[in-house]
């Protein structure tokens, strides 16, 4: 019998054009997703060589990073150079024959949101994008990873990438999660347990019954934050949940091709007995609604927990680390985190701005009001998410509660555009990074699920969303 292989290994083997025998391989890239930050710059090598792209039909583009998210937006950006990026990318896509979901197109949205939504990402394929959270898309059972601009130049010109083979790691969740615990809590808890460096050099496969039980959108949330453990790739094997999700999506195969694809996809999950370089287990029963207290996603506790005390640190380095984080976030050691007043509530980003996220937040918001003085925003992940949410009346729930309901884009996840929070304000955010200044100068970010963000918005402080369950 053939050697048992992991999901990752099967995809790798089926995309390897050449093995350089030094740890690197030349891989075929099935999909490349581009955004406005690349502008026209990424096409320079093609232009210079007068080259044609071998497979423009395998490339897609959108505008998401630097654009504004206010109603009535245009190409104008408040950020210097943003408009040049938007227009440069548009011009080049036209020139090279690349499909773009542009401003004004219902399909426009955050790159990792529209890609699954359109069925552009398929199980068992390879996909790259110039954004580190491309790991998101691995939730559909493919190898998806973030790359730098120079690597994209190479993909445009050759449809291939030179990639170093990562080590494999499996994280298995044991037991069931408690009610009120989301995929965001699962992944935040995992990062807290394993640390922000744990996945360095690895591809992570998430497994276990609690993962299998997740719908596709939640799987995307989980894989999204793999990069916050320093893993470039996260993945969850495709199963019937995935296939149901993908069927009839615009770019998914149809008819006979679908059947053929399905038969292939079913061969991909990790074989019984396949070896991983590293195995970790997470006790899913221990996970509560999570919230970060510091300046790295690993600085995370349950919402019923207390802020760490540097004096209790086990090393001088750890002590300094906690002190520095607390200095920035302005929190007191040993305090309960619940009850910390907030200034800003943000629901958005490729981590948590899909329809299921907005539904979950709307459930909390319904019949409640955002506390006076709190800046509360909802930025749907794509035009389709926005449209579908509006069809269900979710926009009304948000607006009646006092949230701003905005146009799709990355917005305050990366704070590139004119979207700004109060300087130094305390934000609770459904995004993925709580780094210093990530959401604006001095802004102190607490990462949490959209439900937790909604709960904080209507109580004015960090609150255990389970207490608001209606």
């Amino acid at each position: 019998m053939a050697q048992p292989r992991t999901l990752f290994q099967k995809i790798w083997d089926d995309h390897e054009i050449h093995d350089f025998k030094n740890g690197y391989s030349l891989l075929h890239v099935d999909r490349n997703i581009m955004h406005d930050l690349l502008g026209s710059l990424v096409f320079e090598p093609l232009d210079k060589r007068g080259m044609k792209m071998p497979n423009p039909e395998l490339h897609f583009a959108t505008q998401d990073h630097g654009i504004e998210t206010e109603t009535g937006r245009t190409d104008e950006t408040k950020i210097a150079g943003g408009k040049a990026g938007v227009q440069g990318l548009r011009r080049k896509c036209k020139e090279y024959g690349i499909t773009m979901f542009d401003l004004g197109d219902e399909r426009q949205g955050i790159c990792h949101v529209f890609t699954p939504e359109q069925g552009i990402a398929l199980p068992g394929s390879t996909l790259i994008c110039g954004d580190s959270h491309t790991s998101t898309i691995g939730g559909l059972g493919l190898l998806a990873w973030g790359v730098g601009l120079t690597e994209i130049e190479h993909v445009l010109a050759t449809q291939t990438i030179v990639a170093q083979k990562p080590k494999t790691m499996r994280i298995t969740f044991e037991g069931d999660v408690a009610p009120g615990v989301t995929a965001k809590d699962m992944i935040l808890y995992t990062i807290g347990q394993l640390g922000a460096k744990a996945g360095n050099g690895h591809v992570i496969e998430y497994a276990g019954a609690a993962v299998r039980a997740l719908p596709v959108e939640a799987r995307l949330t989980m894989c999204n934050m793999s990069i916050e453990m320093a893993a470039r790739y996260g993945m969850i094997a495709a199963d019937d949940v995935t296939f149901d999700y993908l069927k009839d999506k615009p770019y998914a195969p149809k008819g006979e091709l679908w059947d053929k694809a399905l038969a292939y996809w079913r061969t991909l999950p990790t074989d019984e007995g396949a070896a991983f370089d590293r195995e970790e287990t997470i006790d899913a029963t221990k996970i509560r609604p999570m919230i970060t207290w510091g300046t790295s996603p690993q600085d995370v506790i349950g919402v019923d927990g207390r802020i760490p005390d540097p004096e209790a640190a086990t090393s001088a380095e750890q002590k300094a680390y906690i002190e520095r984080a607390l200095l920035y976030t302005g929190l007191q050691p040993n305090q309960e985190i619940e009850g910390t007043p907030i200034d800003v509530a943000f629901i958005g980003s490729c981590t948590n701005a899909r329809l299921s996220d907005l539904r979950a937040a709307a459930k909390v918001l319904k019949g409640r009001k955002v506390v006076d003085g709190i800046q509360a925003w909802c930025v749907p992940g794509s035009g389709l998410v926005k449209r579908d949410a509006e069809a269900e009346g979710i926009d009304k729930v948000f607006k009646e509660a006092g949230f701003e309901w905005r146009e799709p884009g990355c917005s305050m996840c990366v704070s590139l555009g004119g979207d700004k929070f109060k300087q130094g304000g305390r934000a609770i955010s459904s995004t993925n990074r709580n780094f210093e200044n990530r959401q604006g100068v001095g802004v102190r970010t607490h990462l949490a699920s959209p439900e937790m963000v909604a709960a904080a918005a209507v109580t004015g402080k960090i609150t255990d969303v389970r207490k608001l369950a209606s």
Partner: protein
């Protein structure tokens, strides 16, 4: 590409913190400026939030790169997980544009690490204790030398440390090879592979009548 990386001698600046992320190396608000500056003009944005006061102009005296002994630094020393976070290659362009061609740290964020080689910047891995040993000699400035061929770093006091580097990446730096050009030499191999793959996974090719 006409540039190469062989040896480098110059001032080294210690910034001994862990988890210095690419948002810190190049704050998000500068990313779109690439459309004005190109890859070479990004040095001014390096550590934008740490280097300057909130007015974005006045240098902060307490920041290492603003101290007189570290002017013209070509090396940066840091702790674990340097360059973690966002995939922005701008972080490397900012370092290189500023003049830093080598970062020495115990570990690096993977995408950043990869991006460095694409821009002929050397991310050099040394154990924490050796990073500390070199950093301890830098209070008054002092020059560090790296010899890529020999795989050694020499501290100001003359102590040399060996470092590991992937042979393929080493060769790329030494020769300054053009990635697209090299891959295009394999175009026939790529084409043959793709034709076979089309037969095997036709649904993957979107011109297959979907």
């Amino acid at each position: 590409m006409d540039e190469k990386f062989t040896t480098l001698t110059g001032v080294a600046a210690p910034l001994l913190r862990a988890n210095i992320d690419t948002d810190a190396l190049c704050p998000s608000r500068f990313l779109t400026r690439i459309n004005e500056t190109g890859k070479d003009g990004f040095g001014g944005f390096l550590f934008g939030d740490w280097r300057y006061e909130k007015d974005e102009k006045t240098p902060r005296g307490d920041f290492v790169l603003n101290q007189p002994q570290y002017q013209g630094a070509k090396f940066l020393l840091a702790r674990d997980n340097f360059g973690c976070g966002s995939s922005r290659e701008h972080a490397v362009w900012a370092l290189k544009g500023y003049g830093i061609r080598c970062v020495i740290a115990p570990s690096f964020g993977e995408i950043f690490f990869n991006n460095c080689f694409k821009n002929l910047v050397l991310p050099l891995v040394l154990p924490e204790a050796q990073v500390e040993a070199i950093a301890a000699q830098l209070d008054d400035g002092g020059e560090v030398t790296v010899d890529l061929e020999a795989q050694t770093v020499t501290a100001p006091d003359g102590a040399a440390f060996a470092f590991e580097i992937d042979p393929a990446r080493k060769e790329k730096l030494l020769k300054g090879l053009d990635d697209i050009g090299i891959t295009m030499e394999r175009w026939d191999e790529i084409k043959t592979w793709q034709d076979a793959d089309r037969a095997k996974r036709p649904w993957n090719y979107l011109d297959a009548g979907q």
